[in-house]
């Protein structure tokens, strides 16, 4: 076991993918000598050379568009989009090209491109550096969308994403980059890329979260436990597809569900989860599904971002509101 930050765990996973498959290449802005602005690709260019780990011109559409061409030539590109808010110039190449080429060509062409996106707020950044755009991509058939929340998952999931023959958007919770955990660098993942994980067992209420909000949800569960409420926390891990089975099993036990994410509540992942669980578990639910998330505003300036981001208290408040329904 090695104690690693989440950023270093992704780095280790990338290294292993580069080692095991010489078709894997890393590309993006500043991923080479600098090792990325968050150092996620630190040292990889020195280890694997400039042909496999390379800086691109500053053009997100170009990064994804050329990655598609490289994939068509047989490579497995891993693209870094430097910050969440910079992904939109690549939107056409992602949703109209990357997502649809396999289907468009009746399965003849596969495009195994992984897109790494540091996302979410809470780091005191300027505009466009704190957003949570995952729902745009989860809404598009042809893409797989995942988000890790811990170093151990980061290490395994990035390798699974790269190994997938489908395009995968890999959302990295940038405010958790410095969280540490023991990681088995020789281990293989125990869960599939699209399996959710029960991270805290409980009996009274289920909280579903993903990415940066998992730690918040776990902390809220601990607080609730002190008040005598047993909260089960599920780390969703995969946003497309969604492991509804794990949520349903939990709700069958608890009868109450709160969904937490940083992205705006309106039409966010929580809306889909609430709707599906209401359809499938209607007679098991003791109270309506409650969503906790960002507001329907642009991401605010950092001096007031703490009022926008869900925190332990807002999760506890949602838990209280759910439990208040007899």
């Amino acid at each position: 076991m090695t104690t690693l930050t989440l950023a270093k765990a992704i780095n280790a996973g990338l290294r292993r993918s580069l080692d095991t498959d010489d078709r894997v290449m890393l590309m993006g802005e500043d991923v080479g000598a600098l090792g990325g602005v968050f150092r996620v690709t630190d040292h990889l260019q020195a280890e694997f050379g400039r042909e496999r780990v390379f800086d691109t011109p500053l053009a997100e559409s170009g990064i994804i568009g050329t990655a598609i061409g490289l994939a068509m030539r047989g490579y497995r590109p891993v693209c870094e989009i430097q910050f969440d808010g910079f992904i939109y110039p690549a939107f056409d190449q992602i949703v109209s090209q990357l997502a649809k080429i396999h289907s468009r060509t009746d399965g003849a062409v596969t495009v195994p491109v992984t897109i790494r996106v540091p996302y979410g707020g809470g780091i005191g950044a300027v505009e466009h550096h704190s957003e949570s755009p995952e729902a745009y991509f989860a809404h598009t058939a042809g893409l797989r969308v995942v988000s890790c929340s811990s170093p151990e998952d980061a290490f395994g999931m990035i390798q699974q994403a790269i190994a997938s023959d489908d395009p995968v958007l890999f959302f990295e919770p940038k405010r958790r980059y410095w969280d540490k955990q023991d990681v088995d660098l020789d281990g293989t993942p125990t869960l599939g890329l699209h399996d959710a994980r029960v991270v805290v067992d409980g009996t009274d209420l289920t909280v579903v979260a993903y990415g940066p909000m998992v730690a918040t949800a776990v902390a809220a569960a601990r607080e609730a436990q002190a008040d005598g409420t047993s909260v089960e926390v599920i780390d969703l891990r995969s946003l497309s597809p969604i492991d509804f089975g794990t949520i349903e099993r939990s709700v069958a036990k608890t009868g109450r569900l709160v969904v937490v994410h940083e992205a705006p509540v309106f039409l966010g992942l929580g809306a889909e989860i609430a709707a599906r669980i209401s359809e499938r578990c209607f007679f098991l639910l003791e109270s309506p599904v409650i969503r906790v998330g960002g507001y329907f505003t642009p991401y605010p300036p950092s001096k007031v971002e703490q009022y926008y981001l869900p925190d332990i208290d807002r999760v506890l408040d949602a838990i209280d509101r759910s439990l208040a329904v007899e």
């Binding site: 559409s61 170009g62 068509m72 030539r73 590109p77």
Partner: protein
Amino acid sequence: MGIASLEITDRIEPVALLPTLPGDLLSHPVFSPYVDDVGDAELVQMYEDLVVVRRIDAEATALQRQGELGLWAPMLGQEAAQVGSARALRGTDFVFASYREHAVAYLRGVDPTMILRFWRGSTHSGWNPFEVNMTTPAIVVGSQMLQAVGYGMGILRDRSDDVAVTYFGDGATSQGDIAEALGFPASFHAPDVVFCQNNQFAISAPVGVQSTVPIVQRAAGFGIEGVQVDGNDVLAVLAVTRYAAERARNGHGPTFIEAVTYRMGPHTTSDDPTRYRDAEQFAVWKERDPIDRLLRTLEHRGLATPEMLAGAEAIAAAIATAVRSGCLATVEPAPESIFENVYAEPHPLLEEERAEFVAYHGIPDPTAGDSPEAGR
């Protein structure tokens, strides 16, 4: 605020090798050597190509008018730009096309009936890109160019001397993706032939809306060599494209070709060019017809015999008949096929929706082994 001027001011003399009046080939110090091997037989073959692809185009337009195709994007007038460039490529080169490159597809070996399947609405594709090393239609204008560049970067890494070729129009040159698709190959020295068919229109907008200088000049700012060629001169297009491909194969990176031509038909069968096309300009370009242009040299050389002309027509007519019967015999996809190939690996949501779909429509499950009883 309107566009200041629709006139492109700088004039360049495009490369030409076929004479505009009856006569033998023109000579060009740089490009003539690239077609030294083109003798009578090759000229006759290109004539046949031009006649055949024009006939396929006409048949497709007719099929659209008869309700067999939902839409068609005619290439009338652009045959030489496409035949000349496609004839310059090797089978292992990879073409990233726009949506009007029917002649290129034909010369890459695509069954013309398969080209029509896209326009009929039977598929989003039409052929397996890897079987002919050419992509299927790219509808978002300019999107295919970056993919060609990436493919070229892969060629470089493979130490191969193949080239990636991307086709696009004058309208695409205004897209942001083209700026990126010129910057990337210049930076990486990718082996790309960047082939612009300037057919003078983006649907209705004349090329002057896209650029106030010749399109080819866009390459210079990226450090890419640009060549403007007479797009209605099949031999000059062949020579210039061979030149560009050779540069790419020899490690000299991308070349930008602007083939100056004219779209003699509508943008698509849904368009009405009489609303925006200048009649005088149209008449001028009618005189520059690419088939007539080649025919003058064939006549000069005594190659335009009644047998040769009738032979080309007969081949074109036979292919047109096959295209028509192939189109009418199209087997449409099964309804549940919409769920196929969305992902390369299983996706539970899709499988769930597919199960609901087949149950709702009462579609028998081939894996279950039981089919509905006859007569029910």
